[in-house]
Every structure is written in C-alpha cells, then in structure tokens.
C-alpha cells in the first residue's frame, strides 16, 4: 500500500440517532500516512464520525471501509486483525479503572497470546518511557492519576500494539498548554519513527496546525470543506470564517505562519 491510498473510506454516510440527524452524505478518504484533522463546533458530529470509522456505530445509510473491507459483516478473525491495526485514544482516556497502569497497557499485548510476560514487561516499560511516565507510576490505579497522566497512559495503551492507524479524540483537551505542546511533540516524534496514519478530532487550533496534513470541516451535518489547511481557510463558510479568522484563529495562524507556508 503506497502513500496516498485510502486506508479508510467513508461513502455517502448518514448517521441518525432517533429523529436527530448527525451526518448527511459524508464522503471522506483517509490516506495512508497522513494526519487528518476533523474540525467542527460542539455537537457537529466529530466524535460520531470517528465512532463510525471504528465501527462503534452502524451507519443509517452509506458505507465505511477499512483497507477496502467493510467494517460490518466480517468474520471474527478478520475483524480482530483489523482491530489490532487500530489504536484509539478516547476523549477521557477510557482506562480500565479496575486495572493498574501497567495492566492497562499490557492488556492488548496479553490478548494477542503470542507474547510472553518478559517481552510484555519490556514493551510496557518502553511505552511508558515513550509517553514520559515514570516507572514508579506503573502500579498505580487510574483513579490516582491526574488528567494529563491519564491522557498519556491512554496514548501508551493505544500504541501498545504499534498500530498503523491511530484515532485521537480531542487529544489535547483538558491539558495545560505545556503538556499540550509536549503531547503534540510526542505524536510528531512517533510519526517520525513509525509509518503512522492519524485521524484526529480536535477543537484546538494549535494542535490542528501543528499536526494535520489535511483538515475536514464538519458543520450543519455535512462536510463543508476538505483539504490542506491553506485550502480550507480560503473556503467561504460562516463556521470556517469564525473558527479560523476569529480573534483566536488569527493569532494562532500568525504564530504558525512558517508551518503554513513551508
């Protein structure tokens, strides 16, 4: 699979919760090796779209394909293989509260049943090092951790099997600016080492500008723009204008002029 090929294809997707319509006719292709940022106001269906891509929701109409295969109606082994190739960082971390930090990260590795405990122990230590968590925290329970640590440990768990596709739901929400910058650096570093495709839903312009290769904008149940950041900014839509060209947006874009032009 070369760069530029679709790893996830969304085709004519409709999402409805009862009478409430979330998406209308969404078409999207996540290319291999890119970082796709999903942007939209609160309640515009960023997370819902991500859940559709993960197969957590069933589309009311339309299709979602992962590597050319539909997500629903696969046999168990195939589905498991597809799942192992995805890592997900949930908005609130979704760490298992009954398991320690160590066991949370070790769980997906143990589920493979091909790794022995010795390799698992080394891998867990490596992942903890990667997200910059001291090993003395390994035995702690999620309830004892701060929000920033939960996010980082959840990222370590999402990366446990070195997936090729990573979903980040609001990766920097709830983090202080320094932590948020460190988090962005962390993800940039990982992209350097591994051929990683990332789908990211975010509110945070800084994160969006720093990480994403392409941006998809969701508003009024539809995808109103898709393209590189420069292309998207030029689009004429009230949401895009207020999001990128408002006070905050201008400031962020000003600060990141280098990235945009480079």
């Amino acid at each position: 699979m070369a760069d530029g090929e679709c790893i996830i294809e969304v085709e004519g997707l409709y999402t409805r919760f009862g009478s409430h319509v979330v998406h209308e006719d969404i078409n999207l292709c996540v290319r291999h090796g890119e970082v796709l940022g999903l942007v939209g106001g609160s309640g515009s269906g960023k997370t819902a779209l991500m859940r559709q891509m993960l197969g957590l929701e069933t589309p009311a109409q339309g299709k979602v394909r992962f590597s050319g295969l539909p997500l629903h109606g696969q046999d168990r082994a195939k589905l498991q293989y597809m799942r192992n190739r995805c890592g997900v960082l949930f908005q609130k971390g979704a760490l298992f509260s009954a398991l320690s930090v160590y066991d949370n990260i070790a769980l997906p590795m143990r589920e493979l049943r091909t790794l022995d405990e010795d390799i698992i122990r080394r891998l867990v230590m490596l992942k903890l090092k990667m997200v910059d968590i001291d090993t003395r925290h390994a035995t702690k329970m999620p309830a004892e951790l701060s929000g920033g640590m939960i996010k980082r440990i959840a990222l370590a768990r999402a990366m446990a099997l070195d997936p090729e596709l990573l979903f980040l739901d609001e990766p920097t929400a709830g983090l202080d600016p320094q932590l948020s910058d460190a988090f962005v650096k962390l993800i940039q570093g990982m992209r350097h080492e591994l051929p990683l495709t990332i789908v990211m839903a975010t509110h945070d312009l800084d994160t969006l500008v720093a990480l994403s290769d392409r941006v998809a904008v969701l508003a009024e149940q539809r995808m109103v723009a898709l393209g590189t950041l420069q292309e998207v900014i030029k689009a004429k839509h009230p949401f895009i204008t207020s999001f990128f060209c408002g006070e905050r947006g201008k400031r962020t874009l000003e600060n990141n002029r280098g990235i945009l032009q480079g």
Binding site: D3, G33, L115, A143, E193
Partner: protein
Amino acid sequence: MPENQGSNSSIVLRRVTGEDGASRLVLAGNCTLTALGKRLQPLAGELATHATDPELQWDLTGITQMDDAGAVLLWRAWAERRPRHLLLQPEHERLFNRLEKMPAPPAPIARDPLWPITVLGKAVFLLWDHLIGLIALSGQLLLDAIYLIAHPALVPWREISANLYRTGAQALGITALVGFLIGVVLSFLSSRQLQMFGADIFIINILGVSIIRELGPVLAAILVAGRSGSSMTAQLGVMRVTEELDALTVMGIPHSQRLVMPKVIALGIAMPLVVLWTSAVALIGGMVVAEIQLGLGYQFFLSKLPDAVAIANLWLGLGKGVVCGMVIALISCHFGLRIKSNTESLGEGTTNSVVTSITVVIIIDAIFAVVFSNVGLR
C-alpha cells in the same frame, strides 16, 4: 518516514560466511508484531542461539519495518546490549537508542509471610469501620430529623414521595408473584400432611401464623433488599463516580438530609405496606390450594382466620416491616456513600450492600422471634 510495505512478509534469517571467514547473519523482511504473529516464540529461540556467538556480524539493513516488539525481541536475544558487529538502518537506530535508555522494570513486591494474620486483621478493622460508619450515619439522620422538626418547610417531601413510589408501588408485582407461589407451595405440602391425620381444619392456623408472622415480612424484606437496596447503593455509587455527590456538597445540600433520609423514611413507610400486600397474596394462594386439596370454602377460611391467628401477629409482621425497611435503606446508603470512583468498587459495594442487608434482615427476624416469643401464640 520509512517506505511503507503493506505486504506482511515476516522476517527471514540467513547465515552467510564472508570472504574473510567471519560469519554474518542477514535479517530481512518485516520485523513487526503483526508480521511476526505466532512465529515470535520460535524466532526468539533461534535468535538466542545465534547470539551465543560474540563474533557474529548482525546485518539488519534488510529489515523494511521494525516496531517496538521486534526491537525488544532482538534486544533480549542480545542480552540487553548491542552486539560487537551490528549494521543498522538509521531509522531503526532510534529504536535501539530508546531501548538502551529503557528504565528497569520495578521489582515485584514480595509477599508478606504473615499474610493470613494481616488479612484477618484487615477484615476486623473493616467490620469495625462499617459499624462506626453505620452508627455515625444513623446519628446524623437523627440530628437531621431534629433539625427538620424545627424547620418543617425543609422536609424533602418530593424525594420521599418519589422513593415511596419506586420502592413501594413498583415492587408490588414481584412480591405478589413470589408471595402467591410460596402460599401455594406451603398450602399444598401442609395439606397433604394434615390430611393423613384428618386435621384439615388446622391448615388455616398453619398458613395464618406462618405467613402473617414470619414468611410475609421476611419474603418482602429479602425481595426489597435485593431490588431497592441494590438500586439505592448503585445510585449513590454512580453519583460518586460522576462527582454529583461533590456537586451537592458544594451547593450546600447535605447528603444525609436530601439523599439518605428520604430513602430511609420512604422505605420505612413502604415496607409495612409491601409486607401487608405480600402476606395477603400469599394467603390467597394458600386459600386457593386449600379449597382444591381439602375442599375448604373461601368464606369458611376467611371467617376462621381471625380465630386462628391473634391480631398481635399482624402488628408483629408490620413492625418487622418498618424496622427491616429502615435498616435496608440505611445499609444500602451506607455502602453507596463508601463507593470510590472506579468500576470495581461500584460492583463490590453493591454486592456487599445486598448481602449485608439480607443477612441483617434475617438477624432482625431472629431477634423479633426471641423477644416476642410470648406474643400472639397460643
């Protein structure tokens, strides 16, 4: 970014001897977790045998993709240091650099040889803790009650009414079903025995005393403990997990007054009514079978019932209902407020709450039986 190889060609090992006589191990293909799959264990052994030769040249330049798992596999075979002769691709260099800096895993905690004593001690302390907690909660409720008598406008009528409906009205179906069946079974078994002695008429005494005095209250209490007790504990537990309890505290709304007291009062009122209902339905069940099995008419059964069973038994049953209801609510709330904000604690707390409630219900029943042994029996 390294070239993307979608093919899952797993790693290939090839040992060659160079012109200078030195042997070289050439590794090629994908060295990732998905590519290795079930080959991981045999490969680990193979690498370890190769690694015993310190002069061996490791050529890793043919590896297209390597992830942490692949790197750890090699690293372990090399006994955690780089072999003397190693050829690497620059992008894989970083992986091994990280491995070199990997912190040592924490040592496993040794088991205390005195663990049986510690476990027992902790259990005793826990029991003590619960006792103190329950007494404190009851005391707090008493203080709240005194305060509310002085400020009647603050009595949480709506909460009491809501709990009354949830624990009382909504429990009628299940208690009726269970009560009716128990009445049927009891009547059926007793009537067969009584028939042998020709003492058919005593079915009224047996059913009357056993159901009104004993089975009705205990059955109702056990069902309510399982049904309403667990839901009260879970409700308070989830409120803890979602920080709703803290939100109430910062608004200045005391838990004991607005959450615990309405439940205790409501169950104290609902429980005797549920007991009455359960007893009545169980008696109907017994009466139906008595008519079928022994030919005792309904009217005869009902007219003889007051003679066979002293009215004190009914008051005793209702009294048990009030006490059990309040105690169940108190225990459920006590366990609910102790739940910590994680899922395991929620499950454990709910189980403990129901088990404790049912045990305490039976203890209360036993105490009533001893204390009132002279009341209502001829």
